[in-house]
């Protein structure tokens, strides 16, 4: 009797008990689904220039070697300074690009690289936007002012682009 039952037991196919594993999955998957980030967020730091001495300050510095102003208008971009920025120029206009009438951000970045080369110490950019300019275009302008967009290998970490004018101050257009 005992031998027969042993034999029948050994004839059964061995089955892996998956229930604990399934239980774990059923708990883990909903938890991860609720906390999953399907797109990652970042922040863009800015300040605003006001009459208030407490808040209307330029980021981290009160002394600016060269004042750079970027105007976003309906007809295009204008980069301006009270002093020569590069090759003796103190103003550069960037008309809208066809097709689609988009801002010439690549052209702006090329000029900003030249300005940065001649003015290594300058890190601040003032941005002024006319009514009708979208928030998205202002963020794009800040992005193009921040760095040259060409990541180079860094021994300390991931490849990073060269910084141009990372400190952005928003000004009200008159």
């Amino acid at each position: 009797m005992g031998k027969a039952s042993d034999r029948s037991r050994t004839n059964k196919d061995p089955a892996l008990t998956m229930f604990p594993m399934m239980n774990l999955m059923v708990i883990l998957v909903p938890f991860l689904l609720t906390s999953a980030a399907f797109y990652h967020m970042a922040i863009v730091n800015t300040t605003v220039l006001t009459d208030n001495p407490e808040t209307g300050k330029i980021q981290d510095t009160q002394i600016i070697p060269l004042d750079l102003y970027l105007y976003l208008k309906a007809e295009g971009l204008t980069l301006e300074s009270s002093r020569p920025m590069y090759e003796g120029k103190s103003r550069v206009d960037f008309p809208m690009l066809p097709p689609g009438n988009t801002y010439d951000f690549p052209g702006l970045r090329d000029i900003l690289i030249k300005v940065k080369t001649e003015n290594e110490l300058v890190t601040t950019m003032f941005i002024l936007a006319d009514p009708g300019v979208t928030y998205d275009n202002v963020i794009k302008a800040i992005d193009h002012c921040r760095d040259d967009g060409k990541p180079v290998p860094s021994p300390e970490g991931p490849p990073m682009p060269r910084e141009l004018f990372p400190k952005v101050t928003i000004m009200r257009a008159q």
């Binding site: 998956m18 594993m21 399934m22 999955m25 883990l28 998957v29 991860l32 689904l33 906390s35 999953a36 980030a37 399907f38 797109y39 990652h40 967020m41 970042a42 922040i43 863009v44 730091n45 800015t46 300040t47 605003v48 006001t50 208030n52 407490e54 808040t55 209307g56 300050k57 976003l72 936007a129 009514p131 009708g132 300019v133 979208t134 928030y135 998205d136 275009n137 202002v138 963020i139 794009k140 800040i142 992005d143 921040r146 760095d147 967009g149 928003i170 009200r172």
Partner: protein
């Protein structure tokens, strides 16, 4: 998982049949899902959740978000700290909301109230804090609290004039630094 059914067909005696449910494919799905979710699981200082009616602009910025009070600007309203403050109609804030300094009066008031409560809490913490020798780390923490920054989550298609007016109103209330929430490009 097992289910027992009785079957009389083809036999005079009731026979008990064991039916095994094949869960291999389900396990495959779960395993793939688990690996994907574990990979996309981010451990950062702050997890921001953009409101449904705010489509954030994309940016190449790699700066991780920090916890701070937020202003959400959608196509229909300006929300401060979770409460709607002023309405946005046809992409504009009604002029009746503005004061003589061209600031949005209701928003100015709620931001000032919030900052006052923060100052009060900071004062209480300072009064109740044990007297210890100052270190560099503590100084950094103090600076961070005193910085008075606001996180701005604005719809990308909005006229920047609306965002600008909100920024200047917050600056009028004493906010010195602004953080625009953006969607990381290419992720």
């Amino acid at each position: 998982m097992r289910k027992t059914i009785s079957s009389k067909r083809g036999s005079r005696r009731n026979r008990i049949q064991d039916i095994d449910l094949n869960i291999t494919s389900m396990m495959d799905i779960f395993t793939i899902l688990l690996v994907f979710l574990l990979k996309s699981y981010s451990v950062t200082e702050a997890v921001l959740i953009a409101p449904k009616d705010v489509a954030l602009p994309t940016s190449t910025s790699q700066i991780d978000p920090k916890v701070s009070i937020d202003i959400q600007i959608s196509k229909t309203s300006v929300v401060f700290d979770g409460k709607p403050v002023v309405a946005v109609i046809d992409g504009k804030i009604d002029r009746s909301y503005y004061d003589e300094n061209n600031l949005i009066a209701p928003l100015l008031k709620v931001i000032q109230d919030k900052l006052k409560s923060f100052e009060y809490i900071a004062q209480l913490r300072q009064d109740n804090a044990p007297q210890v020798e100052d270190t560099g780390e503590e100084g950094e923490e103090e600076d961070e609290t005193a910085e008075k920054s606001i996180l701005v989550m604005a719809h990308k298609e909005l006229d920047f004039k609306v965002v600008e007016d909100v920024l200047y109103t917050a600056a009028g209330a004493g906010v010195g630094k602004f953080r625009f929430a953006v969607q990381k490009l290419g992720e």
